[in-house]
Amino acid sequence: MTDLSHWAQSGLRARRPRLPKFPVLPLRKLKFFTGLAVPAWLFAVWYGVTAAHWVPDQILPAPAAVWEAFGALTRGGDLQTNLWISLSRVGYGFGAGTLAGLLLGAGMGFSDGFARFVRPTFLVISQIPILAWLPFLMLLLGIGEALKIVLVAKAVFTPVTLSTCAGIRDVPARYLELARVLQLSRLNTLRRVVLPAALPQLFSGFRYGLTHAWLSLVAVELLASYEGVGYLMVYSRQLFQLDVMVAIMLVIAAAGLLLDRLLSLGETWLGRRYGGAP
């Protein structure tokens, strides 16, 4: 029996044509650097094209100019101030939206009756994309700080509500039965049973919410703001300072990445603290 399968396998192998090895091997050795090949190539093209002055600086600034713009922005403190403003807007909005989303999601997750009344309305409202709220909120709240925080909170609210509700519903019934048998108090059931079981889903909601929060904040800052990284970008766009724009774009990308990393650090910390899934 074993002989037969061995024979079948070797037969299979023999039929496959051998690939020439030489182009693959050196790349496999440089595994880490393969990922850098394309960026390095792009950078070289960028450098070459701008050094040869094939395109005007207003279309594509030289790498050195971007680096200088970045230096000027940080030395003057403009970048730090505006970045801090943007990040604190995200912070407040994310906090408010998460809190509201957790409450509504928990309400819909724990109580079928509540869900029956609220869920259809919630789902209809969640069909409206975040940017469609912008003119409405601009009329109601003006273009001050409240607009940005409410918009960011709304962007976070929908995914957090949905994932909280789903996370609580998906807690296996036998865990809850066990909690009842052990006569855990409500608070302890929540802390020791529901929360650890729902944690992964909660965090996928937080994560999605945070991405959306950053996206919406940049959008609202581009449209209606006098502070923040989005505004810095609009400002440099009006002055045709493309080097500043590229520098800010890189900062926006880095800030988005940083926020995401912070959240996954939070997730591992909480997961360790509450012992993960029971």
Binding site: L12, R15, R16, V24, L27, K31, T34, G35, L36, A37, V38, P39, L42, Q58, I59, R116, F117, V118, R119, P120, T121, V124, I125, Q127, I128, P129, I130, L131, A132, W133, L134, P135, F136, M138, L139, L140, W214, L215, V218, A219, L222, L223, G230, M233, V234, S236, R237, F240, L242, M245, I248, M249, I252, A253, A254, G256, L257, D260
Partner: protein, 253 residues
């Protein structure tokens, strides 16, 4: 089912009546909060003079064009990255880094490079659809079960047959998710593009004009129309997914 529907309708009716009543009795300023009747009347007016239809057509056209371009690039690239190791190693990190840039940060660049016209808008919408389609296609095509690939090898399928009969069918659910997300993002980008690029056509531009004129009724109507279109596109794609070409194969596998 009827009872469920009934209880779901309680809250919207309650909210609508509170809204109508508080405007009626002067608790809310009608100029700021508008009212259900005004929204209906405004809706009827833009429906009759055809301006809503024109705006909607303009928006839908650029949405679908941008989506087609973005998805048309994202889908094959996702398949390539998932099935060819070298392509993944080369392009994967670059694409992942590019993905981190918040979508709307591209607007100033695209408007500079491609101009404030339709090209910039469509490119922006395509960018919005591109990444969700790419990521989900990649996810689906990278997770084809090993035994299906073994079957393909045993049957000595040619590469294009393997792609059509094995990889695409088993990646189909993920691809459909990607297309649905891509459509959602493309619609979001369409609205954003109509706000940010100098535009005179489209639902987004209509809403911004209504805001400038302080016409809350038209702003609320615009929100409802945008929500409705998003919902409709989503439902259409889910329906297409059920009718899909490979469904039979997917089930038999």
């Amino acid at each position: 089912m009827r009872r469920v529907l009934g209880s779901g309708a309680v809250l919207p009716i309650l909210l609508l009546s509170i809204w109508a009543a508080s405007v009626h009795f002067g608790l809310l300023d009608v100029r700021l909060w508008s009212s259900p009747e005004l929204v209906l009347a405004g809706g009827w007016a833009v429906l009759r003079d055809g301006s809503l239809a024109t705006a909607l057509m303009a928006s839908m056209k650029r949405d679908l064009l941008g989506f087609a371009i973005g998805a048309g690039l994202g889908l094959p690239l996702g398949l390539l990255l998932a099935r060819v190791r070298l392509a993944d190693k080369l392009l994967g990190p670059t694409l992942n880094a590019t993905r981190q840039i918040a979508l709307f940060a591209w607007v100033p660049f695209l408007s500079l490079w491609l101009g404030n016209g339709e090209q910039g808008r469509v490119a922006f919408i395509a960018l919005g659809a591109f990444f969700p389609v790419l990521l989900n296609t990649h996810l689906g095509a990278a997770r084809v079960e090993a035994r299906y690939l073994e079957v393909a090898r045993v049957l000595c399928l040619k590469p294009h047959r393997k792609l059509l009969k094995v990889i695409l069918p088993s990646a189909l659910p993920a691809i459909l998710t990607g297309l649905r997300l891509g459509l959602i993002y493309a619609w979001l980008a369409t609205i954003g593009a109509e706000y940010m690029f100098a535009t005179t056509s489209g639902v987004g531009a209509m809403m911004m004009d209504a805001r400038d004129l302080f016409r809350m009724d038209l702003v609320i109507l615009g929100m409802m129309v945008i929500g409705g279109v998003g919902f409709g596109l989503n439902a259409l794609l889910s329906h297409l997914g059920h009718l899909s070409l490979w469904r039979g194969v997917e089930q038999s596998l």
